[in-house]
Amino acid sequence: MSLSSTEHTEYTTVSPNGQRMRLDDVSVAFAGRMAVRNVTFDVEPLKVTSMIGPSGSGKTTLLRAMNRMHDLTPSAKVSGSITIDGVDIFDKSIRLTDLRTRIGMVFQRPNPFPSMSIFENAVAGLRFIGVKDKKFLAESAERSLRAAALWDSVKDRLQNAAGTLSGGEQQRLCIARSLAVEPEVLLMDEPTASLDPIATAQIEELTQTLKQILTIVIVTHNMQQASRVSDNCAFLLMGDDMAGELIEFGETTKIFTNPNDPRTIDYIAGKFG
């Protein structure tokens, strides 16, 4: 299950384009009810940042703020500033469609497009932005499927429906689909929550390869996973009014071995124990 070295050399020859993102005093409210409040931390480029915390502490909410997915929800209000490469993501000069190609997203449950083949899924993002060149599409498909450690197992059945893949393979296809548009940041919301241990380990390994070329933010309930894959870690917890707050942010090793806040110790100890 370990990645062969040939699997990712192709992709790592691409120059790294991972960007820094910065959250400054970010709050998100739904219909006036605060879901997460005053969060400030830096997502360092070419590193993996994990978000941990109990259910309802606002991890997903925060993650979805980072690629403006809340624009879909009329009742949602995001305040504070979120920047990528120093530019506010809400800035008028940034088009939403461009932003979303720069900040990819992988969801909790694998969600390949059921009406498309494996190949079509891999290049869907390129098609959406208007790429038509067949050769370019074919090369991109191979490059991103290799980067997602899926190429060898699907190269002979690229035209099969995406639904014929296993759950783990589907999730890697979704990662490949995100990689195809060459994002600078990849947001992953509990990407292994519906996968078995082997598929989980494969995705975890993948994050280590991918962080050579892009920035990763991963939400997880699995403490071992957070400590294994992430360089930095943000711990969120609900306050008295049930709005999520950032309790502690720092290097993962520090958070897991010597945190500043007793609540961090309690949570991590409880989850490990």
């Binding site: 469609t97 190609t101 969600n111 497009f113």
Partner: protein
Amino acid sequence: MTVAAAIDQMTPREIIRRTSQKSGQRRQLLSNLYFAVLTIALLVIFIPLYGVLSTIVVRGYHSLNWTFLTANPIPPTSATSPIGGVANAIDGTLEVTGIAVLLAVPLTILISVALFETRNRLARIVEQGIEIFVGMPAITFGLFIAAITVSVTHKFEAWYGSMALLFIVVPVATVNMIAAIRSVPQTLIEAGLGLGARPSRVMMRIILPTALPRILTGFFLSVSRALGETAPVLFVIGGVLVPSFNPRLPATTLPTQIYAYFGSQFESQVQACWGMALLLVIIVLFFNVLSRIFLARSKKANG
């Protein structure tokens, strides 16, 4: 020792077992009765269902021959004189229903997508209106269209009938199509938007293809209904004995021909009604099978 005292000394488990044993026979009986009633219900439903179908087949099948399908009607003069065929009604049905479908498809797609994408008051009012139209008696559409066409132009034209049928096809197809596109998981839409697709692309490349089988099923269903409608077209298409192949001229459809023939004094024309009914059933069954194939394919594709 009294019964109450005995119960007092029993463990919860013993009480449950005892109660279960006591009521066991009654529960078995009720259970049998339950399934007996359901089986009877199925039998009762089976009789009209297959009674209608078999009557139409038995009485209609010997009408179905080449002359019946290709010849024009000949008004009979005696009980044994030939009555020709129903080519006029086949042409009329194709014209009237065909035009209705051609117009209904883009209209339905436009309305459904608009209702899906806009969530304002106007959209809600429109959607409620469409739902009301699904349940409206077809003859009201016939009356309405007659009032704005025949009553004004004093002419019967086939396409007036198509207009009236639109009121049948579009609401049924739209309600189905909206349900179909709303059933596309939100996470697929977010995945599309997350890849930088603009909303129209998400609609064209993700939502519509994913919902396509169910959308088609809705169209087949609505067309099947329109094929058999008499009331909406009765007042506006007039009647002909030869195919006009022209929607600006009057027409006869299979249902209106059945309507006209069934009151006939000649047994031969009454007999032809069963042939036409069978023809309609075959066409509708054809659509039914098509829609089943699409549904089965979608189940396979979506896992």
